[in-house]
């Protein structure tokens, strides 16, 4: 069975090779996924194959018509599940009873807070993508800098508005800073914003693509403890809710 988190830039896929009742179930779809999308394969673990592929491929390959999608969330697919609910269902069994989970993607940021194991609070910045992953990727491409070159910089740019943040980068570079330094300060600004947006918790469980951005993680660690959940948390939530129903207790 195939579970799809169709993000704006990247799609995360979990293909279960073992059915919900532990019956071996390597379906034709799972085989076809291995055969045709092998270059996007990430790992295989616990009866699940994990893939990350550019979301544009979903459209060009007519992916959602060629494969039977068991459950889907995200902007680029035919979503039948809410992303916050998927995040809640994905993280519920692996976090503390009191926890804030932040998912920071290419287009938006969302967080959910549990208190005594029950849902307590949430938010979702739904409309402005100017200070999220897509912006960082574009900056890296524009200035020909790799993500690995970025490093934590104690200085940060105010990036409440990403456009103003871009202006800061341009000013910094024109004043002699290297692009890698300027972008690192921008990333620090995003981390500070994300921490504020999540209401300044002491500890954040981080989900999404920024888990793989060391500069971002180190910047966030300047403000709070950070536990990395990786990029498949929403997808795991789709699998979990399919197996067990909604896991949170309201």
């Amino acid at each position: 069975m195939i579970y799809l988190d169709a993000g704006t830039t990247y799609s995360k896929i979990i293909a279960t090779t073992v059915g919900v009742n532990d019956i071996l179930n390597t379906s034709e779809d799972v085989e076809n996924l291995r055969k045709n999308y092998g270059k996007f394969f990430i790992k295989s673990d616990g009866g699940k194959d994990y893939y990350i592929l550019p979301s544009t491929i979903l459209k060009t390959d007519n992916f959602t018509k060629n494969f039977e999608i068991k459950k889907c969330c995200g902007h680029m697919g035919i979503a039948d599940e809410n992303e916050i609910i998927a995040l809640a269902n994905g993280s519920k069994n692996i976090i503390d009873k009191d926890a804030t989970i932040l998912d920071l993607g290419s287009r938006d940021a969302k967080w959910i807070r549990f208190k005594d194991g029950k849902f307590h609070d949430m938010d979702w910045n739904t409309s402005c993508a100017s200070s999220t992953g897509a912006t960082v990727e574009m900056l890296l491409k524009f200035y020909n800098v790799s993500r690995e070159e970025l490093s934590f910089n104690e200085e940060k740019f105010a990036v409440t508005c990403g456009i103003f943040g871009l202006e800061k980068i341009m000013d910094d570079i024109s004043n002699g800073a290297k692009p890698v330094e300027a972008i690192s300060k921008f990333v620090h600004g995003i981390a500070y914003n994300a921490w504020n947006f999540a209401k300044k918790p002491e500890k954040i469980y981080l989900s999404g693509g920024f888990c793989e951005n060391k500069c971002f993680v180190d910047s966030l660690r300047y403000y709070c403890e950070v536990v990395l959940l990786g990029r498949f948390m929403l997808c795991e939530g789709l699998v979990n809710s399919d197996k067990e129903g909604e896991l949170f207790n309201a």
């Binding site: 916050i84 739904t126 909604e246 949170f248 309201a250």
Partner: protein, 238 residues
């Protein structure tokens, strides 16, 4: 004259409404707060409260014979500025302030079993032609706090057991400037605090959402899928 139109916004002083009704017994009353889809007249800045934009655009398109314009604490400063702009544009504007705080009417609609969309519409339609309602009451599962949104379809996301709070509740109670009632919510009722983007009531909405662990939402004109999903998540998780 059948085609005469009287424009109004907010909750005008009922005495003024009554006087105008007598003066124009056949006039059609138009709620200028509502988005009728008329073109933008480029009077206001691009980023501005959509409700005030509606008022300006509707008024200049429809050109009512009279506009009843609340400008006090029962509306907002932007309403007062809009009244000046429209008068300057040659329209006949009657400013009203309806800030009395006594004689709160009993609430029937806000706490009823009607769908939230119908609750809000019924309350607003009751301003000019008040009717008495006898509706079954329900215990609140959720709350909606705020003004009627520009995107009324947003209200269809909520279950019928949603009570109305904030300014809309004040309108049903006949006290649109009653800040105490406007700030009232029930602590144990999960509530969505809604404000129109660029509206000063966003200050209250955000403050109350934080105070009562509710969900703060502001929307400019129409809710996109992400905002709907955010509200849906809140309603499902709470």
């Amino acid at each position: 004259m059948i085609n005469e139109k009287i424009g109004f916004w907010g909750y005008p002083d009922p005495n003024v409404v009554e006087n105008i009704k007598q003066e124009y017994p056949n006039a059609e009353w138009v709620d200028l707060d509502i988005d009728f889809g008329y073109s933008d007249k480029s009077i206001l800045p691009e980023s501005y409260c959509k409700i005030i934009k509606n008022i300006i655009n509707n008024s200049l398109e429809i050109r009512p014979v009279k506009i009843i314009a609340p400008i006090g604490k029962d509306k907002c400063d932007s309403g007062w500025f809009a009244a000046q702009v429209l008068r300057d544009k040659g329209l006949d504007v009657i400013e009203t302030k309806y800030e009395q705080l006594t004689d709160r009417k009993e609430l029937v609609i806000s706490t009823s079993n009607l769908p939230l969309y119908d609750k809000v519409n019924t309350i607003m339609n009751n301003i000019i032609e008040p009717k008495k309602y006898d509706l079954p009451q329900v215990k609140a599962k959720f709350g909606f706090w705020g003004v009627p949104p520009n995107d009324l379809e947003l209200l269809r996301l909520f279950p019928d057991e949603t009570h109305v709070y904030g300014w809309t509740r004040c309108v049903e109670a006949g006290v649109p400037a009653d800040i105490e009632l406007e700030m009232f919510v029930e602590e144990d009722v999960p509530t969505v605090f809604y404000a129109q983007a660029f509206c000063s009531k966003a200050q209250l909405a955000k403050y109350l959402a934080d105070k009562y662990n509710g969900l703060y939402v502001d929307i400019d004109d129409y809710a996109n899928n992400s905002i709907k999903a955010k509200i849906e998540a809140f309603l499902r998780l709470r």
